[in-house]
Symmetry: C2
Subunit: 184 residues, 2 copies
Amino acid sequence: MRVLKYAILGLLIKRPMTGYELAKEFNFELAEFWHASHSQIYPELKKLNDEGLVTYDIEISGDILEAKRYSITKEGELEFTQWLHKDEKIPKTQKDIFRLRMYFSNNLDPKTRIHLLENQRQQHLKRLNTLVKTSEQYPEVPDLYSDRFGDFVVLKGAIMRQENIIEWIDQCIGYIEAGAKNKP
Amino acid sequence: MRVLKYAILGLLIKRPMTGYELAKEFNFELAEFWHASHSQIYPELKKLNDEGLVTYDIEISGDILEAKRYSITKEGELEFTQWLHKDEKIPKTQKDIFRLRMYFSNNLDPKTRIHLLENQRQQHLKRLNTLVKTSEQYPEVPDLYSDRFGDFVVLKGAIMRQENIIEWIDQCIGYIEAGAKNKP
DNA sequence: AATCAACATGTAAATATTGACATGTAAGAT
DNA sequence: ATCTTACATGTCAATATTTACATGTTGATT
């Protein structure tokens, strides 16, 4: 499906970027729903260049340090826009190792289950707080055509998802505490 | 990390199964948070057998059709239990192509955005209904040590997640409708 | 007798992804 | 001068995952 291809093209529509900058975007702003490391990005940029969907200019910092600043081409914009318009089947599964563990949790004593859940809760709460802090940059809904709109709605979604996960964890803890009271 | 290894071991603790039956589990009961197809499962079973974590007996149906029914060994149970006890770092990212699209949605006119969102909404609602129907098998919280407990909590989580996604989609539609009213 | 759905097991090729290996510069602080 | 952090680009090996290829049986229905 080559989603990374479209992720990169979409980012380059905003502004020309180096591979390094793209990697930063994938590690920060987009990190809540997409990720790629530089070892994937550099080969993909090369491929996109071969396909004529991006071009680059070489920039020199200092004396010799070269950076390739990639821009999207007309063809790239066309392909990206076509992709963006497509309806999409929801994916069969969102793999989730922790839920897999919980699926098998009857093999654990209640104490261990609660320990594992509390541990996850704490980590998710931490992430939630980070997201909420980030969302303070958006006191209002950005304009529909601003590139901050997408960031805003996705951030909202990430916050809602975190809250939902924590709610689920709390319910799980509740079930276990109630069940353990009867037969400890 | 070889999560499939532990997923298979965990399933085999419940009861001995053939590769075909494992594949069915991954396509039905577990499908909301894990998935694997037979082309992954058969090689993994071979590997687990080489490692002494599972064994199999050959069953004959009819005249010649052979089926390998795999069971978990003592070593397998030990490794599985050790894995199950481990705390786990929450994953960096849950890749989500639709959210990636929404992140770039400023490149679409409001009508198209709403169309894409409604399409997703419908699909997620359909899945939610299926999940709710499945959850009717659980009028009460199963016993903590029954293997139905894990299924129950994970199913609860899947329902909550679906509801949450739909809520997010509705909010997105709301933002777009409100924004489009001002500048159509 | 033919057909179909479910049972059953495998391999191969292509793609996606992660983590390690590998190298070096620029700019600012100490 | 030295150190540290950020900038910058790449390859390689190992896994993980999907899709297609490949084959055949069993049991029930028509």
